[in-house]
Symmetry: C2
Subunit: 286 residues, 2 copies
C-alpha cells in the first residue's frame, strides 16, 4: 500500500484484541503510524508493553488525524457503536471493520459514515484479548469485502490495497452471500461441534463417560475444537446471522437424517458410497 497518502501516515485501530492487535503489529512493520484505541486503561498498559501500536489511549481523539480507521471491536460493540467513537471518526477517513457477519454491519454503518467499507478478514487463533495479537495473521488468508451500490470506490480501493499489503487474498461478495457462506462454512460447524460436546455432557452413565474419556483421540479433539471455542464469539455469530444459520441447521439436519436412515436400513453399500462422496468433496474446502 502507498504509505504516504494524501492525508496522513496514520491508521487508527479501534480495539486491540486478536484482530486489532495483529493488525497493529503488521501495519507498524509496513511503516504505518498506528494509533490504537481501547476501552480500559489496563488494556492500554498491556498493549503498550506488547507494542501493538505507537500511540495507545482510551481517548477517541487519537483517531482525529488518521486517514484510515479499522474498527476491530467485538460484533456486539460494532453493531452498537458508542456516540463518542462515531463522533471521533474523521469524515474524510476511510472506515472499515472486521466483523464476521456483514448484512447487519452494513445496515448500521452505511448510515453512520459515507466512506465505510464492510470487511471480514478470515483469520484467527484460539486466543482472544490484548495478549492474542500476533504477526502475519492475515498472510494468505481470505479478506472479504462486501461493497454495495452506494460504496465509495476510492475507499474500497484503499481497503483493497491494505488487505494486499498484509498478504491477504482479496475477495468481494454481496453481504447476503457472505453471510450465507459463513453460516455454512463457519457458523454451522460451531453448532455441529457444540452439539457433539452436548451429547457427551448429556450421557448419564458415568462409567461409560469415564471410558469414553480414556478413549477419546485426535478425531474427537478435531471434531469438537470449534464447538469448544469462545462462547461469547459463538453467541455473537448466531445472534447476528440467525436466519442464515437456521437455514443451514435445517439443511444439516436433513443430511444427518438421510445418513441415519441408511444405517437404520443397514444399506452398507449406500453408506460406503455416501462416505466416498463426502471424502471426495472435502479437498476442495481445505
Amino acid at each position: 500500500m502507498e504509505q504516504n497518502t494524501k492525508q496522513s501516515n496514520c491508521i487508527g485501530i479501534v480495539g486491540l484484541g486478536l484482530i486489532g492487535g495483529s493488525l497493529g503489529l503488521d501495519l507498524q512493520s509496513l511503516g504505518w503510524t498506528v494509533h490504537g484505541l481501547t476501552h480500559r486503561q489496563l488494556t492500554v498498559n498491556k498493549a503498550k508493553e506488547r507494542k501493538l501500536a505507537q500511540v495507545i489511549s482510551t481517548d477517541p481523539k487519537i483517531l482525529s488525524n488518521c486517514s484510515l480507521v479499522i474498527i476491530a471491536l467485538p460484533l456486539a460493540e460494532l453493531l452498537k457503536p458508542e456516540p463518542e467513537l462515531i463522533n471521533a471518526l474523521p469524515k474524510s477517513a476511510v472506515i472499515t471493520d472486521v466483523g464476521s457477519v456483514k448484512t447487519p454491519v452494513l445496515k448500521v454503518w452505511r448510515k453512520l459514515h459515507p466512506r465505510f467499507i464492510g470487511s471480514h478478514p478470515m483469520a484467527g487463533t484460539a486466543k482472544a484479548g490484548v495478549e492474542a495479537g500476533t504477526k502475519n495473521l492475515f498472510n494468505q488468508r481470505p479478506w472479504i469485502s462486501t461493497p454495495e451500490e452506494s460504496t465509495d470506490n476510492e475507499a474500497l480501493e484503499i481497503v483493497h490495497q491494505l488487505a494486499l499489503s498484509l498478504g491477504s487474498q482479496w475477495i468481494t461478495a454481496k453481504a447476503e452471500m457472505h453471510d450465507q457462506a459463513v453460516a455454512l462454512i463457519s457458523h454451522l460447524p460451531v453448532l455441529v461441534s457444540a452439539a457433539l460436546l452436548k451429547t457427551i455432557r448429556n450421557e448419564e452413565n458415568s462409567s461409560l463417560l469415564a471410558l469414553a474419556k480414556d478413549l477419546a483421540s485426535s478425531g474427537f479433539a478435531d471434531t469438537t475444537r470449534v464447538g469448544g471455542g469462545n462462547p461469547k464469539l459463538g453467541t455473537a455469530m448466531m445472534s447476528n446471522n440467525t436466519a442464515e444459520i437456521l437455514r443451514a441447521i435445517t439443511s444439516y439436519r436433513s443430511s444427518l437424517e438421510a445418513i441415519e436412515k441408511i444405517i437404520l436400513r443397514e444399506q452398507w453399500k449406500e453408506l460406503e458410497s455416501e462416505l466416498e462422496k463426502t471424502q471426495a468433496i472435502r479437498p476442495d474446502f481445505v
Copy 2:
C-alpha cells in the same frame, strides 16, 4: 515383555497394513522375530522392502511356530476369517486382534480359539495399506482389552505385557461398554462430520458454494476431517456397531435440536451458557 517365552520368540502378524505394519516395526525393535502373513504376493514384496517383518509370506504355515498371533485384518475379514487362517493358528498360542468393535469380534472368536483376547489399540493415522506402517504408533495411546468370564488369564497377561512394551496405556472394559464408548467418542464424530460435508454437497447455489470454498478455514477443515476419511473403514465401523451408533445418533439429534430451539427463540443468554458448558467439558476429552 519377556522375550524368551516358554514356546518361541516368534510373534505372528496377520495383515501388514497400518496397524499390522506398525506392530511389525516396533516388535522387531523390541527383539522379537516377526512373521508377517499377507494375502497377496505384491504386498509381500512391498512389506519386505519396508522390513515390516523378518519372515513375510502368503502361506499361513509361517504362523505355526509363533507363541502369539496378532490378527490385524480389516474388520470384515476379522469377523469372517478364512478356514486356512483358523487352521494355521497354533492351539497353544495366544491370539489377539486389533478390531475397533469388540462384541461381534468376541462372538466369532471365543468359539474359534481358547486363548483369544479381544484387543483394540486406539492408534491411527490417515494412511492405510502396506505403506502406512510407522514406528512408535502405539506409544502413549490407549490399548483396550475386553476380557470376559471365559478368558484365559495367562493369555490376557501376555497381551497386557505386549501392550505395555509398546508404550500403550492398558485399559480393560466389558466389550459392550467398549462398543458404546467408541460409538460416542469415535463413530458418532465420523457421522456428524460426514453430515457436514453432505450439507455442503447438497447446496445447490453454485456461486454460494464457490464463495464458501474460498472462505473455508481451519475450523471447517478440523470439523470435517474424520467425515472425509476412509469410506470402507467408516462403513465397517457403522455396520459392526449399528445398535450403539443409532443410540448415539438419537442422542446427538436431540442435542442439536435443543440448540436449534434456543437459536429459534433467540435466547442468547441461554445459548452463551450452553456454549460455556460445551467449552468446559472439552478439556476432559482432549
